[in-house]
């Protein structure tokens, strides 16, 4: 495998400068694998995916710096060669998924509850800012408190604050071995199990509940895994090797249904069973992320989330008048708007992608 070394930053910068001059907004995108995630933006597309390559990778520093258009699959393969991984296990909904898109959307995968999120792994970024200048924030070291943390702010900004050119990410050593255990359980007992396991320091790196079955991924050395398996007494999941990749990439058959909208509920992990929605659910992150296929009216689902101190995302499906992202309180929205206005004074970066007016 070779990763193309292709620096198009000056072209991209030129495009941004032109759009500032012409007051012509841009829709920034990578592989379009998450095109569904947010509002449609009526603007000239700016494709980052040709901007590829590894700028530096030193395994002993647990850090890689790369161009935003690099394919996630290429990065994964590179890291795998030196026994390292991305801690946040980002989804690859399609083979075109780029690292820039993963950062901008900020969606983390199964490992999230155990080894941290996209933003936790960000060390630095290089971006084209709202004045068309190329600027860098953060760096390649984990401890860095000089200036405001603008690199983490790029996560979940979905292209509305700048064009991400490069990112530096913190890596983890790849665990020597991984196994998946499974056992039968209704939802209530599964949540109870997740609750107890939080205190037990098992080497869990992913968890799920679906169709009255709990799934646990454990990652450690052979002997430690052997011991944990004995202690837990659960069965090995032996006939589904790609289980976690399928969950991560939404290839698992739970995600195949298109007859009902797919909601994503982000909740405090100990939230009790949500029984008022009896539709199909898939639970991840020890209870902190719950996927629900449901025809229930949007406000019912949103209320369930809010009353549990959480958020409901209309992840996939067409519900009229229902935006993808939960609404923000007034004072918080005001801060968002002031930040957007100051960082993108010409209003050219993917306007309205997350919320109208941002």
């Amino acid at each position: 495998m070779t990763i193309q070394d292709n620096d198009i930053s000056s072209d991209l910068q030129q495009r941004v400068l032109e759009s500032i001059a012409n007051k012509q907004p841009l829709y920034i995108h990578g592989g379009n694998s998450k095109a569904f995630y947010g509002n449609t933006v009526d603007a000239t597309p700016l494709d980052i995916s040709p901007h590829t390559g590894i700028i530096s990778y030193e395994p002993t520093e647990l850090c890689v710096t790369l161009r935003a258009g690099t394919l996630l699959s290429d990065l994964e393969a590179l890291l795998n060669n030196t026994n390292q991984i991305l801690p946040f296990e980002p989804p690859q909904y399609t083979t075109e998924t780029t690292i820039g898109g993963a950062i901008a959307a900020g969606i983390s995968g199964p490992r999230r509850a155990y080894t941290g999120s996209v933003r936790d792994a960000i060390l630095g970024v290089k971006i084209i800012n709202g004045n068309g200048e190329i600027v860098s924030f953060g760096g390649q070291v984990m401890k860095n408190v000089a200036g405001y943390d603008l690199s983490r702010m790029m996560v979940r900004s979905q292209g509305t604050l700048g064009v991400i050119l490069e990112v530096s990410l913190r890596l983890l050593p790849k665990p020597p071995k991984e196994i998946t255990l499974t056992f039968e359980s209704d939802q209530k007992s599964a949540l109870q199990f997740f609750q107890e396991s939080r205190l037990q320091q098992l080497p869990i790196t992913a968890s799920a509940w679906f169709n009255d079955q709990v799934y646990l991924r454990l990652s450690e050395s052979e002997t430690v895994l052997e011991q944990s398996k004995k202690k837990l007494g659960f069965d090995l999941l032996s006939d589904y090797d790609d289980f976690w990749t399928d969950i991560r990439d939404h290839q698992h058959h739970f995600f195949g249904r298109t007859d009902k909208p797919l909601w994503r509920l982000s909740l405090p992990p100990a939230t009790k069973q949500i029984s008022s929605v009896d539709d199909n659910q898939l639970i991840e992150w020890g209870g902190a992320q719950r996927w629900i296929n449901s025809n229930a009216p949007a406000n019912i689902i949103q209320n369930i989330a809010t009353s549990n101190n959480g958020y409901a995302y209309m992840f996939k499906g067409d519900l009229p008048e229902t935006p993808c992202f939960p609404l923000l309180d007034q004072p918080l929205m005001l801060l968002h708007k002031q930040l957007k206005r100051n960082m993108d004074p010409n209003g050219i970066f993917s306007p309205g992608r997350i919320y109208s007016g941002l």
């Binding site: 030193e58 936790d120 760096g139 070291v141 984990m142 408190v145 702010m153 037990q200 320091q201």
Partner: protein, 489 residues
């Protein structure tokens, strides 16, 4: 820039409506203790010190100051080492020491809800009965406040494995400069909108007053071991650090001390450190018994391959505490061997440790000031302690110059001017070395979104472009800053 008499009287009158006399300090005697933080080389007296007790009072205070355009400097415990809480002579100190309650320990979701003035260690003490603890552990943890930790994104010995403050805080509630209460982050693993929680973390009191924090708690590890390895060459110790990480082990803590630090600490704490070593590494490992057994083996072998002279493994809690005691008392210990010391705080890539330590000792010889190094080697976070005597004419200036050279060196090798202590007042000039005018302007844009009149901790953390220009850190043509057409906030 002191306040005119009218504004001053008006301010004190209005503050007096909110706070009783004992919590509105104005006499020189009463405000003197607030003249500096942990960086005592710089001192200033504020107009007044206010010590509110409720969020509503904080909201009213910020509203009054906003209206009168009076600067506000937030202060936690005042242990900061970069002059972040240094008063403004025309403004007030807003002390949060009375916000000292732990509001809730949630043993289901493993979080604690605390007020900003709570001491870092008090959280772990409150969580201990439930088998839980709060991971970031700055050496100042018995004294520093959690609000100050969030404002500085504080680190500690265990950050290599468990992350900095930013990784261990879930939600922060702030009072904005115009008195609004805004909650950033949430009780869930992600929150819609921009990551303002990350933005407020490490913002040094420049964006809002932190009035409530929800931190993550972790279960206490089953077992802990501490290794001490001694080296004849500093370079070997530096390389050992990179090699341990390369072996796929992430220790809970990995600290390094050089000879002057070892001697000072040993004299002070009797930790049984080898006095003939040029450097020692302290490596803490935690996990299950089986995990530990395997890691101890890997780490010991790596240390031996890196030419470690001697490796001591501390099993018992007592032995471990003794090894750590030397490290934890290293700062006061160095304080005993020199009238004054100046603690620097740069971060560098791990692979540069050996080179940078060598350069620092060369610089030390050139300027004739001694240095002791005791630092978070695992994350490349250096703390050179420059030894000097403030009573000797010109020695502080020489020290500052030496410190500035060290920070420039950190930036040159791909690092940063501050790993955990913040920019504050102290490192404001080095910001011009690390950031371009365009980048600084981006910081002003952020600041302006939160605090358009620049009343929160003015003059700290981000230098004006003019300041950088005066230092010659920026190219100025015909007295014009680059890109004069761009708004400078």
């Amino acid at each position: 820039m002191s306040l005119d008499t009218n504004t001053r009287n008006n301010l004190l009158f209005q503050l007096g409506e909110i706070l009783p006399e004992e919590y509105l300090l104005t006499s020189e005697e009463a405000i003197k203790p607030y003249e500096c933080d942990g960086l005592s080389a710089y001192q200033k007296l504020p107009v007044a010190v206010v010590l509110p007790e409720t969020i509503e009072q904080v909201q009213r205070i910020t509203k009054i100051c906003s209206q009168l355009k009076v600067p506000i400097v937030a202060r936690g415990a005042g242990t900061g080492l970069s002059g972040g809480a240094l008063p403004h002579e025309g403004g007030i100190i807003l002390g949060l020491s009375r916000f000292n309650k732990i509001e809730k320990i949630d043993t289901d979701n493993l979080t604690a809800t605390v007020q900003p003035g709570v001491r870092n260690l008090a959280i772990t003490e409150a969580a201990r009965p439930f088998g839980l603890y709060y991971a970031p552990d700055p050496s100042s943890q018995i004294a520093c406040s959690i609000g100050g930790n969030v404002a500085e994104n504080a680190g500690g010995v265990h950050c290599l494995k468990y992350g900095l403050t930013v990784h261990n805080v879930q939600q922060v509630t702030i009072v904005t400069v115009d008195g609004e209460l805004v909650t950033l982050g949430s009780q869930t693993l992600d929150t819609p909108g921009y990551d303002l929680l990350a933005l407020i973390t490490g913002s040094e009191g420049m964006l809002g007053i932190i009035v409530e924090i929800v931190v993550k708690l972790l279960p206490k590890p089953h077992a802990v071991k501490v290794l001490m390895a001694s080296f004849k060459k500093v370079e070997d110790a530096g390389n050992a650090v990179a090699n341990i990480i390369a072996e796929g082990v992430i220790p809970a803590g990995l600290e390094m001390m050089d000879k002057p630090a070892i001697h000072a600490a040993e004299a002070f704490a009797k930790a049984n450190y080898p006095l003939d070593a040029e450097a020692i590494l302290l490596c803490e490992l935690d996990g299950s018994e089986q995990q530990l057994a395997e890691q101890i083996e890997t780490v010991s072998e790596t240390l031996r391959n890196a030419n470690a002279d001697d490796i001591v493994i501390a099993d018992s809690a007592d032995e471990q505490a003794r090894l750590w005691a030397g490290r934890k008392s290293a700062f006061p210990a160095v304080g005993r061997i020199s009238p004054d010391y100046y603690c620097m705080d740069g971060t560098i890539p791990r692979k540069q440790i050996a080179y940078v330590l060598k350069r620092i000792s060369e610089l030390s010889e050139e300027c004739g000031l001694r240095v002791a190094n005791v630092f978070h080697a695992g994350d490349g976070n250096l703390h050179p302690l420059i030894l000097y005597d403030a009573n000797k004419e010109g020695e502080l200036e020489k020290t500052e110059k030496f410190g500035a050279d060290i920070l420039t060196l950190c930036v040159e090798v791909g690092g940063t001017i501050t790993g955990e202590h913040g920019v504050g007042h102290e490192k404001i000039d080095q910001m011009c070395v690390q950031f371009s005018p365009e980048e600084l302007t981006q910081f002003f844009a952020v600041k302006n979104a939160f605090d358009p009149d620049a009343l929160l901790n003015p003059g700290k953390a981000v230098p004006t472009l003019h300041r950088c220009a005066e230092l010659g850190g920026m190219h100025v043509h015909n007295g014009q800053l680059p890109h004069p057409e761009i708004p400078r906030f």
